[in-house]
């Protein structure tokens, strides 16, 4: 599909060049349910071009975080599990989001907003409790939380040994 090939090209450009955050900004405490499903809508800007993404984040107090990223019409671009101990497992990658990129940047951005890494090297600004901007050298991610459904998520979500979809 030409659309996907072209999309991946730009994203790969961004991925290959994303090296370091511009700066670390002071963080504001934020609150998310320990267990729940958080739906996000994001605009990724790379080299002046913009792409919309949907994110579905399952949270478990004991299991960790599982994030699935799709494009407008539902294709899965990335699927990553970050365990409670911080271990990162890429469950699904795509030509648009390669494994290394997911490990290095998607997981890091996930921890910056939803994890305990807020005090670390996080180039994230909280515009409001549901609106965040991640500003890296080669890409910006404008992320809005559009829905939060508290409640336990299936335990299989957080099993890194489960068969990958």
């Amino acid at each position: 599909m030409r659309l996907n090939r072209s999309l991946l090209f730009v994203l790969l450009l961004a991925a290959g060049c994303a090296t370091r955050p511009k700066e670390t900004l002071p963080q504001t405490p934020r609150s998310f349910p320990a267990d729940g499903l958080i739906t996000q809508r994001a605009v990724l800007t790379a080299r002046g071009r913009q792409f919309t993404l949907n994110g579905y984040l399952s949270l478990s107090a004991t299991g960790g975080k599982r994030l699935i990223i799709t494009e407008n019409f539902g294709n899965v671009l990335a699927d990553v599990l970050v365990k409670s101990d911080g271990a990162v497992h890429v469950m699904r990658s795509s030509q648009a989001f390669r494994q290394k990129w997911i490990e290095r940047y998607v997981a890091a951005d996930l921890e910056c907003i939803f994890g305990d890494a807020a005090e670390g090297n996080c180039p994230v600004r909280m515009i409001s409790p549901t609106h965040f901007v991640i500003d890296r050298f080669w890409y910006d991610l404008d992320l809005q939380i559009v829905e939060i459904k508290p409640g336990p998520q299936p335990s299989t979500m957080f099993d890194a040994t489960a068969v990958k979809p």
């Binding site: 659309l3 899965v76 979809p165």
Partner: protein, 229 residues
């Protein structure tokens, strides 16, 4: 008892679904049906449809849903607007496409990464909903089955596309008078289903409905659609 009833009900529903599909008869020569479809749709000047998009992923016990509105006006205007859980507008015609996102109460026009690619997708959507399925034969193998519903199935000819999209099904009323659902099947068994409802035909859309600089608010569009047949 309740524990027994729920699985039984689910099995019954599943059986009904299987029965409905198994009752479908493949059509050996889809040409006349596709001609009929195009003829029926050719009189449409415009259409307003509401939709629910369901993303069925194996990991989730329930589909991930979004809601929105699709508008089309001949000869080539299309607007695909997601209204929940986020707000986004895609606009396309034969010359250009545009996308708007609503952030903090403001619409922002995006600098699209690959406008040509998005334009192509929008064109294909427009062709499908105008019944011009024969125009898609360059990219897809087309087959038809009829029964309780009429199903036009499009299988991508390009192998690399089939690795992402196994097939695309357009499910219509048996008399081909309206589209009920579009299902995008992936090789993994996961799929996206778009369910259409509240179809309004020959709507006189307000000025700016398809404007790629400042599109008219969807509330005004819906009000106009409410007056259509």
């Amino acid at each position: 008892m309740k524990k027994l009833v729920v699985p039984l009900a689910m099995i019954s529903l599943a059986a009904l679904a299987v029965a409905a599909d198994s009752a479908l008869q493949p059509v050996s020569n889809p040409g006349p049906i596709l001609d009929d479809l195009q003829r029926k749709m050719s009189s449409l000047r415009s259409v307003h449809l509401e939709f629910t998009q369901e993303r069925h992923l194996k990991l989730f016990t329930e589909p991930l849903k979004s809601e929105g509105v699709m508008l089309m006006e001949r000869p080539n205007q299309i607007r695909w607007e997601t209204t929940a859980p986020y707000q986004s507008i895609l606009l396309g015609n034969d010359k250009s496409v545009a996308q708007f996102e609503r952030t903090d109460g403001q619409w922002k026009k995006l600098k699209l990464g690959f406008p040509e690619m998005l334009k192509r997708v929008m064109e294909q959507m427009s062709l499908m909903h105008q019944g011009k399925v024969d125009a898609l034969t360059r990219d897809f193998t087309v087959s038809v089955a009829t029964g309780a519903v009429a199903v036009v199935t499009l299988v991508p000819k390009d192998k690399s596309v089939r690795e992402m999209l196994a097939s695309l099904e357009i499910r219509m009323q048996p008399d081909l008078s309206a589209t009920r659902e579009v299902v995008m099947n992936e090789p993994s068994g996961e799929f996206t289903k778009i369910i259409f409802r509240r179809e309004r035909r020959d709507v006189k859309f307000p000025p700016g409905t398809f404007d790629q600089t400042k599109p008219t608010d969807i509330a005004a569009v819906k009000a106009a659609a409410g007056n259509a047949p």
